[in-house]
Assembly symmetry: C2
Homo-oligomer: 279 residues x 2
């Protein structure tokens, strides 16, 4: 596959005036329009940080089910001079595109607001692996690693982060990818795109997001076959209901050594030493 | 105008398992699909908390410029049995609808992700009032009032809040409306809808949001002619650039007695007593 590598700088510096009347240099997040063309047909304009635009475009096409297989894609060419991403398929395998694009749902999530067609029907047929467990010690390790990652990279405070993670020991987890974007659905799609490109199986992975657990977040996690979805934020009722229906293990308010398991609690094991009272 | 009054409960209680293995009742935000029909034509499905669905629908139609005047609307009927909002116009004044809907932009913002047509061109012709000033003492009063409002009403932690505010004295501001939604663009649109319905002029008002200042947030604030946009969060580069271009006074990181003015600093006056060092 032909693939550009057109990441943009994540932050820019501007001057701002603070409450004491002082000019302070301040980092702000990039935000760029990126218009996606699939075989020269305009699909959508995404507003993105531009951290991983090729992966974003691939993940968008995958999660919207606009292209069936990664093998169908011949090229992804991102050009910031024209703010465009041109995707070329091999077999013009985009039948039914018109129909898929006819029904729009403007979703709750940050970032992308468009879900075409019948994703809900599709995930009704997904079965998530049920032989896996996540120990709280592994979860705490993941939370700590995300915290350290953000300490290093987070500057502008207007972005959402998503991580793909894996357990690597009885009390250890590793971040495999970390993507930030101004819209958190872009971050999810960029991870999906890289997984698609690299042929990574999601069925034993953990998905972490800084953002809220809305219906769309749960749908995308399920599409990627991931049994674990972790957020430091809260959730919505539809997110809860869909997670319950598909049997996803969904944790919210995960921070430090705290968390709440909302659904799929049977996959969580408490193995970490419990803090003593007043410790 | 015929108008239903079909607000839904904002939060629901579910049981969650915490890190100590205890079941804790937890409030989660509602999230409901609401499909908007304009003269029986399906426009979009919004995912919403359902706090102010009629205002949301009106504001959506206004901010997307799908209906030109509030007088053109004969009825807004929200029916949660069918998750639908039926809007009827008087004059079938929705010419050019097809064309407007052809170009979609999936924006960065939380919530709604769709901007039709050429809003950017439209706001290029907006002139915001330049004879108004916002004193820091008024701003601090507004921040404190938002904080108190949220202390009372915020339960589920998965919602964004927006407020329409007005200065009422040299060190005083009042909240005129406060709307929460799972997507913050829904909250903005609901405020726009109520302003439209009640004929409220935005040109001397302050718009407050808990969410980030992205391009779409700045565009909507400008459409409502408001010269002041305040957020407790950060901003993006496009938000910054558009605010700069239209001459909006944009403040980020507004919390307690702190803020950063990014654009339009000439409208901000420092009148509050300055805290002494080490105070």
């Amino acid at each position: 596959m032909q693939l550009t590598n057109a990441a943009r700088p994540a932050t820019f510096e501007v001057e701002a005036l603070n409450e004491r009347g002082e000019m302070v240099p301040t980092s702000i997040a990039g935000e760029h329009p990126l218009t996606l063309y699939l075989d020269k047909r305009e699909i959508v304009t995404l507003m993105t940080l531009g951290h991983a635009p090729e992966a974003l475009v691939l993940g968008y096409l995958r999660n919207q089910r606009l292209v069936g297989s990664i093998e169908d894609i011949a090229a992804v060419q991102v050009d910031w001079d024209t703010d465009s991403a041109a995707v070329t398929t091999r077999r013009r395998s985009t039948r039914g595109l018109k129909q898929k694009m006819a029904r729009r749902t403007v979703t709750t999530g940050c970032g992308q607001g468009t879900v075409f067609g019948d994703l809900m029907e599709e995930i009704a047929h997904v079965t998530l692996r049920d032989d896996l467990r996540l120990a709280d010690a592994q979860l705490f390790d993941l939370i700590e690693k995300v915290r350290r990652h953000e300490t290093i990279y987070k500057q502008a405070g207007a972005v959402h982060g998503c991580a793909l993670a894996q357990c690597t020991g009885p009390a250890a987890a590793e971040i495999l990818m970390f993507v930030e974007d101004v819209g958190r659905h872009n971050a999810v799609d960029a991870i999906a795109g890289r997984m698609w490109l690299e042929g990574i199986d999601g069925s034993d992975k953990i998905f972490y997001t800084t953002g809220r657990l809305t219906s769309e977040m749960v749908i995308k996690c399920t599409q990627m076959r991931m049994p674990f979805l972790v957020s430091r934020s809260g959730l919505t009722r539809m997110g809860y209901e869909i997670a319950h229906r598909v049997g996803l293990t969904m944790l919210g308010r995960a921070s430090g050594r705290h968390y709440l398991v909302f659904t799929g609690a049977h996959r969580i094991e408490r193995t970490a030493p419990q803090p003593t009272a007043f410790a």
